[in-house]
């Protein structure tokens, strides 16, 4: 049958997200007009999603190396050394636009994609975390998106059998038109099992296995690089559909192929599908690729070369293998009821040559699509003149605090997330020592006794909106504080940068400042960035989302005795506030929700004070002086104390007075960094205070853990049942 080939008009070029300057570069590189399939290839490979063209200049400034880093950015996921020949493979990735259009499948396929990034590296995925942000659920559309996303994550992760052990759930009107769905996965491998996505030599085979190819997701990568509009719902054909059972089959078969040492290189066919996976593996080795599209298994009729190259059908893997391993590869795949499809080979031509129905449809230099991507003209960055300097200041009167606390606990943002995490299988694989509901997830490493992995992910759009540099620095330290409070040593970072349109001057400024903060903080804390994801165009005609970097951080706990819960454990334990005095309640989420706008000033970080607090908390936990520990972050001291009580397995609350040297509103709501609350058994109080004195860190006794009461002198007098009722109301 003959298919009408669309001619390349300016409209077609624009629909492919290419500028006229970029199109001119294509003409110059080819010396002729591209075929429609070639235009498609350039369009996806030069999209922000694949090329990082607007961000790579900034990302190049991030610290990416360190003693423990085995693979930094550039692979499917980052890899760090855990000792004992064990490696941790981890990455975070966004699926914001697909989730906004089709929440269930958008989120489910987000989980699928990040799992493949991890097992493509040879690691068994052992945990998932989700950082998800939505508009208020009292709007029906938001409610539909929230339920769909939670359900999609549950359906996919539960079926594949990877526990969802933690994450974040944020409600703010800033995410009403454009939700954020960031999924992080952590895997573990022995060093000798690690795989890369780099081909080695010409003449090796490209073997496709997994799901077949359909029209779903054609141009997903380009779609992810555009703003959402009211017509975006019409882009449903760009949203892929997930099959977690197929994912489980390719997960197990992949690990078996790697165990038998049958693969040279491996990549999943994610964004930009067959095109991106085949060309990236070859380009890294300076090779070329021949593809024969007739060998691609197809589930739709009359797929064109264009569609076969760009399809983002899910659960597909592309392996580079030596020809003499083909029969063994076939045998392993057959056990899992999968076929090995030889769809091409590596060549030494340095070109991508694609044949379909015996016609050459694509013949382009590989480096022109993979490496020599024209950098867009830098956008003149425009620091805002208004809202970082001018801000509202709000205080809460003494008699209003009790109601303010109960209101906050009833809000979907601060209310119990049990209704969400009970839908996630968080126990499968039987490694979950501390699961969802705490700030940090703790997983045992069966391969090395008495060594544990601690994982957290943290974002805060308010902090970053008020000051992208300081806010992002504070965020990195907040992730580190979470790990330190749990008894872990922070090791490395993955990041998901969710921003608006990078061609907008103010957003370009936000992005540059945020990355500068990320780089500075990661350098100071010695937590290198091993990978991540950039998601731009998170905006609607109404507005852009808050600039929202999400930090995924992994750490290691070196002794079971160091694992420290956040919740109150013993009646009578003394409660200490550790860290600098609270000076203001700017950037408070509670104030933002009360007045409906950003409340300043921005928070700022004193890295010396931060590191002094880290060292103190780490030392007193190791000395065995602490029964529970948590850091103070979103919601301030007030929410930290409420959560320590509400999660207490022994129904313990608090009986405290606020420090005399702080005003009440900052004292209870400040989200300034470097601060922790420690619960200390009375026999260790003296030792704790000595440690703090020696370290020069402020350490103030607030009161004690008390059965069943939640009492703050002069402000709040509740019992735990009264505290719990609004918190659990939405279940």
């Amino acid at each position: 049958m003959s298919v009408a080939v669309p001619s390349i008009t300016p409209e077609v070029i624009e629909q492919h997200g290419l500028t006229s300057a970029e199109y001119q570069t294509i003409l110059d590189q080819l010396g002729r007009e591209p075929t429609i399939a070639e235009l498609g290839v350039y369009s996806v490979m030069w999209s922000e999603h694949c090329s990082y063209k607007h961000s790579r200049r900034h990302l190049a400034t991030l610290p990416t190396s360190g003693d423990r880093v085995l693979h930094g950015p550039g692979e499917n996921a980052g890899v760090i050394d855990l000792g004992n020949q064990l490696a941790c493979v981890f990455k975070i990735e966004s699926h914001n636009h697909p989730s906004a259009v089709e929440p269930h499948q958008g989120a489910a396929t987000g989980v699928g994609g990040i799992l493949r990034d991890i097992f493509a590296m040879g690691a068994r995925p052992i945990a998932l975390l989700d950082a998800i942000r939505f508009g208020p659920p009292d709007k029906a559309r938001n409610e539909w998106i929230i339920r769909g996303v939670v359900n999609g994550i549950a359906d996919y992760g539960n079926c594949v059998g990877v526990p969802t052990v933690g994450g974040e759930f944020c409600i703010d009107d800033a995410y009403s038109d454009n939700c954020l769905v960031n999924v992080m996965c952590v895997g573990v491998a022995r060093h000798d099992e690690l795989m890369t996505a780099r081909a080695e030599k010409a003449g090796d085979l490209l073997v496709y296995y997994g799901g077949s190819t359909g029209r779903d997701g054609v141009h997903g990568a380009t779609f992810a690089s555009m703003e959402l509009t009211d017509e975006s719902a019409d882009n449903r054909s760009s949203v892929q559909v997930g099959d977690p059972f197929m994912e489980k089959l390719i997960l197990e078969s992949t690990l078996e192929l790697i165990e038998h040492n049958l693969l040279v290189a491996l990549q999943d066919m994610g964004a930009a599908g067959l095109t991106c996976s085949s060309t990236e593996m070859a380009d890294k080795a300076g090779l070329g690729v021949d593809l024969d599209l007739d060998a691609v298994p197809q589930r739709a009729r009359n797929l064109s070369a264009y569609e076969l190259l760009l399809s983002e059908s899910q659960e597909r893997m592309l392996a580079v293998i030596s020809p003499d391993k083909l029969e063994q590869v076939r045998a392993v795949l057959k056990k899992w009821d999968l076929n090995a499809h030889v769809v091409g080979a590596t060549t030494n031509t340095g070109r991508l040559v694609v044949r379909h129905h015996r016609e050459v449809e694509v013949d382009v230099p590989l480096d022109s699509i993979c490496s020599s991507i024209p950098a867009p003209a830098p956008v003149a960055s425009a620091p805002p003149t208004s809202h970082t300097r001018h801000f509202t200041s709000v205080t809460i009167a003494d008699k209003e605090w009790q109601a303010a606390l109960l209101d906050a606990l009833a809000s979907p943002h601060f209310a119990s997330k049990r209704w969400i995490y009970e839908q996630y299988d968080h126990d499968v694989q039987t490694n979950t020592v501390v699961g969802p509901g705490a700030g940090v997830a703790v997983l045992r490493l069966r391969q090395t006794p008495n060594r544990f992995l601690a994982v957290t992910c943290d974002g805060n759009g308010i902090w970053v909106a008020l000051d992208p540099y300081e806010g992002t620095r504070a965020l990195v330290t907040e992730a580190a504080r979470n790990l330190i409070a749990a008894g872990a040593v922070p090791l490395a970072v993955t990041n998901n940068l969710n921003f608006g349109n990078p061609r907008d001057g103010e957003i370009a400024w936000q992005f540059a400042e945020s990355v500068r903060g990320l780089a500075d903080a990661c350098r100071a804390l010695d937590t290198p960035v091993t990978g991540g994801n950039v998601s731009f165009y998170n905006e609607s005609p109404r507005m852009a989302v808050f600039p929202t970097p999400v930090i995924g951080m992994v750490g290691v706990i070196e002794d079971r005795a160091h694992i420290t819960p956040a919740s109150l454990q013993h009646e009578g334990d003394a409660l200490y506030l550790v860290g600098p005095r609270a000076t203001h309640a700017g950037a408070s989420k509670i104030l933002r929700d009360r007045v409906g706008e950003l409340v300043g000033p921005a928070i700022s970080l004193d890295m010396d004070a931060e590191q002094a607090s880290h060292a103190l908390v780490r030392d007193v936990i190791r000395a065995g002086l602490i029964a529970s520990a948590t850091d103070i972050s979103e919601g301030g001291l007030l929410i930290a104390l409420a959560e320590m009580s509400l999660c207490s397995p022994k129904n313990l609350g608090i009986e405290i007075s606020l420090p005399g040297d702080e005003d009440t509103t900052p004292s209870l709501l400040s989200e300034e960094p470097s601060r922790f609350i420690l619960a200390c058994p009375i026999e260790h109080e003296e030792a704790l205070c000595e440690h703090a004195h020696r370290a020069g860190v402020r350490c103030v006794r607030l009161g004690a853990a008390e059965r069943n009461d939640f009492h703050i002198t002069g402000l709040i007098d509740l019992n735990l049942a009264q505290l719990r009722e609004p918190w659990e109301r939405g279940q």
Binding site: G161, P244, F245, E422, Q423, D427, V428, Q429, T430
Partner: protein, 247 residues
């Protein structure tokens, strides 16, 4: 410590198989063989575990295709010979679909997947998995993780099952009281686990292999496996039906 050889059946889509192997091999020091769904249970096996997960992606119904898979023929022969067999979660669903146990599992009454820790109460010690180390009305703390766990049986059959003493576990609260509030999924009569008439086959929704270490919040699940090991060493069940060996 007595020893038994366990077979853990692996279907495509099983995802608790490795956890069962770990609990039996590393926590209880038992011999374990993993048996692929196309194979038969080896002759030297004493006890069989049908693990949880999403066998065949829950195509048609949970457990429906697993019930038809080649390995199930030999599972049935071992069952007839009296070997202790436990079907956990999706494995329970497979045993019901294979008609080796009575009843069906419906969608949770909340219409949601639920993963949490629950209490269950021992209702009989006539089962291979409760016959030693446990007493009637002892309670165990075990995790559940399922979307289709509401046990159901028509009234007359339910009456028969109750009177024949085939209810092994019921959901209860922390004081061992069987209440509606303690029922996590809407199971009829709070039933969490049932056995066959001979008492050698147990199907249950909670995951005993997940309650296998104090580090994970408790090790109550191991009690069920220990009882099975004990029962095998007390009364070896003529070990291996003649046609049980792989072809």
């Amino acid at each position: 410590m007595t020893h038994a050889t366990f077979a853990v059946v692996v279907f495509p889509g099983s995802n608790c198989d490795r956890d069962c192997v770990h609990a039996l091999r590393d926590e209880l020091q038992q011999r374990v063989v993993e048996v692929w769904h196309r194979d038969a249970i080896p002759a030297n096996v004493d006890c069989i575990v049908i693990p949880g997960g999403f066998s065949y992606g829950d195509a048609l119904r949970a457990g429906a295709l697993a019930a038809l898979s080649p390995v199930m023929g030999s599972v049935k022969r071992f069952a007839d010979a009296g070997a202790p067999i436990i079907g956990i979660c999706n494995g329970f669903q497979a045993l019901l679909e294979a008609k080796l146990l009575p009843g069906a599992l419906l969608r949770n009454r909340s219409l949601r997947f639920r993963c949490k820790r629950v209490h269950v109460r021992i209702e009989t010690t006539a089962c291979a998995f409760t016959s030693s180390g446990l007493s009637i009305h002892d309670s165990l703390s075990l995790p559940i993780a399922h979307g289709f766990g509401a046990y159901h049986l028509p009234k007359d059959q339910l009456a028969h099952l109750e009177s024949s003493g085939q209810i092994v576990l019921r959901y209860c609260d922390s004081t061992s009281a069987v209440t509606d509030g303690a029922n996590p999924n809407g199971s009829v009569n709070n039933i969490a686990g049932v056995m066959n008439a001979q008492g050698n086959m147990l199907g249950l929704m909670p995951h005993p292999e997940r309650a296998s270490s104090e580090l994970l919040g408790g090790a109550d699940g191991l009690k069920l496996f220990r009882a099975a090991i004990q029962s095998v060493s007390n009364t070896p069940f003529a070990n291996a039906p003649a046609d049980g060996a792989p072809a």
